[in-house]
């Protein structure tokens, strides 16, 4: 860690340069207008200093053109900066498709991370330089916020839902990792290090770390432990299924008993495990018990990773929302 006086932070992600450019241009505009106003005020203050005790100012004059100018010019500047800022924002929050998926859970007062290879870390996160990394996160208790100043990005971790953050580190180094959302007593100690390593060093670090199971493998095991497979049966299982098949489900549109539809994403799957009755798939009975309070955030993440890994056959994917119900009909 550096301890000398700094005025501008180090930038170490693919987006840091864009954010800095946006900030510096805005800062320049702000300095310009602040100095302009200050200079005018001081100039008028001195030039028009009251000379006699009963002196009065000039009679009111109207200057519609001036009023229009100083409304429209700031408006144009604001709109241009809005467009630029929104483009940067969309880059910040839309991960590229080749991003590696990491998982994070915030809790009072630590960050728990899991790599796609299964390695787990607390408070520190090692990542390879040059690789886009998407962190899906949630919280076990209050709202936290994952913040890496050197990457110019942050995202709140909200209990009960998933949010995502992505970045691509551009130079190896050790950077601050903070909790930015006030979360109680030890908020200022909910900090760690983001360690960006060259791909080769990262591989070495991974191989030297106690390799846990990959999220998909632990998810597969949990799928049996919680007896999910007794109802959500494999397509090859000769017995009739008692619940929708999960192969190929992720990312597909699902139709519900009440006629609504939704895309089967992380948040939907999470809800369907914790509160299955909330969105019942059309054609099925509400027989699934709730798993609220029985499965930890890490276990949920592993189950989701496993469900995502179950790729359905081409026909299933094409058959759409009621594929599972249709399957039942044929058996």
């Amino acid at each position: 860690m550096r301890s000398e006086l700094q005025f501008f932070p180090e930038g170490a992600s693919s987006l840091a340069g864009q954010v800095d450019a946006l900030y510096l241009v805005w800062a320049a505009v702000s300095v310009f207008f602040s100095l302009l106003i200050a200079a005018l005020l001081v100039f008028f203050f001195i030039k028009y200093k009251r000379r006699t005790e009963d002196e009065i100012g000039l009679e009111e004059r109207e200057a519609p053109l001036l009023e229009i100018a100083w409304s429209v010019i700031p408006l144009i500047i604001c709109l241009l900066m809005f467009v630029w800022g929104t483009r940067v924002f969309f880059d910040i929050y839309r991960p590229p498709s080749d991003a590696q998926e990491y998982f994070a859970v915030g809790k009072q007062w630590m960050w728990k991370f899991q790599h796609p290879e299964g390695v787990r870390e607390i408070n520190n996160l090692h990542v390879p330089v040059g690789q886009a990394i998407k962190v899906t996160m949630t919280s076990e208790d209050v709202i936290h916020s994952l913040y890496v100043p050197a990457f110019r990005t942050k995202q709140d971790a909200v209990p009960g839902r998933y949010t995502t953050l992505w970045f691509k580190a551009t130079k190896p180094g050790t950077y601050h990792l903070f909790c930015a959302e006030y979360c109680g007593t030890e908020h200022s100690r909910m900090i760690g290090q983001l360690i960006a390593l060259s791909p080769r060093d990262y591989e070495q670090w991974l191989s030297g770390s106690p390799a846990g199971k990959t999220p998909v493998a632990s998810g597969a095991q949990l799928f049996q432990t919680f007896a999910c497979d007794t109802c959500h049966r494999d397509a090859k299982d000769p017995r009739p299924p008692r619940a929708p098949q999960l192969a190929g489900l992720y990312g597909r549109d699902v139709t519900f008993a009440d006629g609504g539809t939704a895309k089967a994403d992380d948040t939907y799957l999470r809800e369907s495990i914790l509160n299955p009755a909330a969105k019942l798939v059309a054609g099925w009975q509400p027989i699934m018990p709730t798993f609220q309070g029985q499965v930890s955030e890490e276990q949920l993440a592993a189950l989701l990773a496993y469900i995502k890994s179950l790729q359905g056959s081409a026909e299933q994917a094409a058959a759409g929302g009621n594929a599972a119900a249709a399957d039942r009909g044929t058996l």
């Binding site: 000398e4 100012g57 604001c78 924002f89 990005t153 209990p159």
Partner: protein, 552 residues
């Protein structure tokens, strides 16, 4: 206070004024006179200001070193929470409207009192009850939720007297609602003959806009606090995800009030500054109508921008886009006001008295606060700056650099009218300078800290942030002296100050046409208004003034 003024030579009939019209505690605590109620607010709001100020000093002292060493982490969290709660709900929101607004709204429009004098007194009692609950909570353990009470931290995990503090805010909210109601009715119904809408002083326009927000926004925070209570007591699943609620819903409801509340704090300040700039340039405010309408525009647009507090909360990026755009738009009327104030000085007769120094300080600091506000409304920048010291610096520029500068300026301007006494301009100018320098030294380094990435509400921090934090703490001690000085010389002036003239500044405006201090019913004869506000040309004979030279 009652012994401060015995006889006022300037009072036309018999020397009675609102200060010597009845003595004793009862005549104050049961008064229906808007001017006496303003004094009650002045005393109680000042008490809360110094409580909040002591908290601020504790925060700055703790942050002198990177390690958390002066206070415990829990204590620090309670201190900054109570700093925010007292300063926002018990100082900033009531400061200008309830003190200066209460005193001046009837005087400026030529009315005898507010429309509902008893409700006005009730407002003060509600404020005191709310404040008492909050003080009780503070003494019995405090709260560690921050002034924002975010769920589920506040509902499930926080320690301390969360419900008592929230109840205090809830009760004080009704004080705000009733004051807003009183002002709206008074401004609509009780203007003196000839006081048309576009002859009203801009102070009245900005208080009208503020009252609209108080009336329409405050019930939302009241309902939100009730929802928190319902979840805690009845386990209704509103904000807790385990009960099927949504924690981010709280943020929507909270900011739906609390963002407009920022305008409750700053619109009255803009009104004060319009008065000061006009009086000390002896000129009408440039673009009077535009400045008046800009106040209403800010009040309306202010209700549409709450989502800019939630750009990293996981809200839809498309919603964030809309909120960013609307936040840019709300900046325009504020920018227009700054340009118009500046242009007012042009070819004016500019006095260098203390209130003018504060007014100029306001314009400069509010400009910086506003510009940094548009910066953080820009989506791509806010992701990095959200919840850092940049935000802390930004809103202190608006609220301290803006609202408190204007409040101080207004207090110095109307002090001779309120008390009938003069203060020492030498000390007033010294303190105005100390406030300006101390303020900038306290808060400018925090912009740099924020971009460096120092998160707010940190009790301990990384060592590389220390130098800027030391500067900030040094500035805070200068600022503290700048605020203590007026407390001393104002108190001194109430007892020993020379009697003030009716119109010491040579200003136009109905409040300067009555005696100092004004009689109980403000005017001996209902004034008839024949000119626009700030019309120095046609009202020149009323000016017989020497400015602060006469005060000293």
């Amino acid at each position: 206070m009652s012994h401060a003024v015995s006889t006022d030579i300037h009072a036309p009939s018999g020397g009675t004024n609102y200060l010597n019209d009845g003595y004793g505690l009862r005549s104050w605590l049961l008064t229906k006179d808007h001017k006496r109620i303003a004094i009650l607010y002045l005393i109680s709001v000042t008490v809360f200001f110094f409580i909040g100020g002591i908290m601020a000093m504790l925060i700055r002292l703790e942050l002198l070193t990177p390690e958390g060493d002066l206070l415990q982490a829990d204590t620090y969290n309670r201190v900054f929470s109570m700093h925010g709660i007292t300063m926002v709900f018990f100082f900033l929101i009531p400061s200008i409207p309830a003190i200066l607004g209460n005193f001046l709204v009837p005087l400026m429009i030529g009315a005898k009192d507010l429309a509902f004098p008893r409700i006005n007194l009730l407002s003060w009692y509600l404020y005191i009850f709310g404040g008492a609950f909050t003080l009780w909570a503070m003494i019995h353990g405090g709260v560690d939720t921050g002034w924002t009470f975010y769920t589920p931290l506040s509902t499930q995990y926080a320690q301390g007297q969360v419900m008592m503090a929230a109840l205090g805010v809830f009760i004080a909210g009704f004080s705000s609602i009733l004051t807003g109601l009183n002002f709206i009715v008074t401004i609509h119904r009780m203007r003196a003959p000839g006081m048309t809408w576009f002859r009203m002083p801009l102070f009245i326009w900005s208080h009208y806009a503020t009252s609209l927000i108080m009336l329409l926004g405050t019930p939302v925070i009241a309902v939100t606090i009730l929802m928190v209570a319902a979840e805690r007591a009845l386990h209704l699943g509103l904000f807790d995800p385990r009960l099927g609620g949504d924690p981010v819903l709280f943020q929507h409801l909270f900011w739906f009030y609390s963002h407009p509340a920022v305008y409750i704090m700053v619109l009255p300040a803009m009104g004060v500054v319009s008065e000061l700039i006009a009086a000390f340039s002896r000129k009408p405010v440039f673009g009077y109508k535009i400045v008046a309408i800009a106040s209403i525009a800010i009040a309306v647009l202010g209700f549409l921008v709450w989502g800019h507090h939630m750009f990293v909360s996981g809200q839809s990026i498309y919603a964030s886009t809309v909120f960013s755009l609307l936040s840019m738009l709300v900046a325009i009327p504020s920018a227009v006001k700054v340009f118009n104030w500046t242009a007012t000085l042009y070819e004016g007769s500019v006095s260098w008295d203390t209130p003018m120094l504060y007014a100029l300080g306001f314009i400069g600091l509010f400009t910086i606060g506003g510009l940094t506000g548009v910066m953080i409304a820009t989506l791509g920048i806010d992701v990095h700056l959200h919840d850092t010291y940049f935000i802390v610096a930004h809103f202190h520029y608006v609220m301290v650099g803006g609202t408190i500068m204007a409040y101080m300026g207004g207090l110095h301007y109307w002090w001779p009218k309120i008390t009938g006494r003069k203060y020492r301009p030498f000390w007033a100018k010294i303190s105005a300078m100390l406030v300006f320098v101390g303020f900038n030294l306290t808060f400018f380094p925090q912009f740099l800290l924020g971009y460096l990435g120092m998160p707010r509400r940190y009790w301990s921090y990384a060592p590389e942030f220390q130098v800027l934090n030391v500067l900030s703490t040094a500035g805070a001690s200068i600022l503290a002296i700048g605020y203590l000085l007026p407390a001393i010389y104002f108190t001194w002036s109430m007892r020993y100050g020379e009697k003030a003239e009716d119109n010491p500044w040579g200003a136009v405006g109905l409040e300067w046409q009555t005696s100092s201090p004004p009689p109980t019913f403000n005017f001996h004869e209902t004034p008839i208004v024949t000119h626009d506000a700030y019309d120095y040309h046609h009202q020149r004979p009323t000016i017989a003034a020497k400015g602060e030279a006469a005060l000293g």
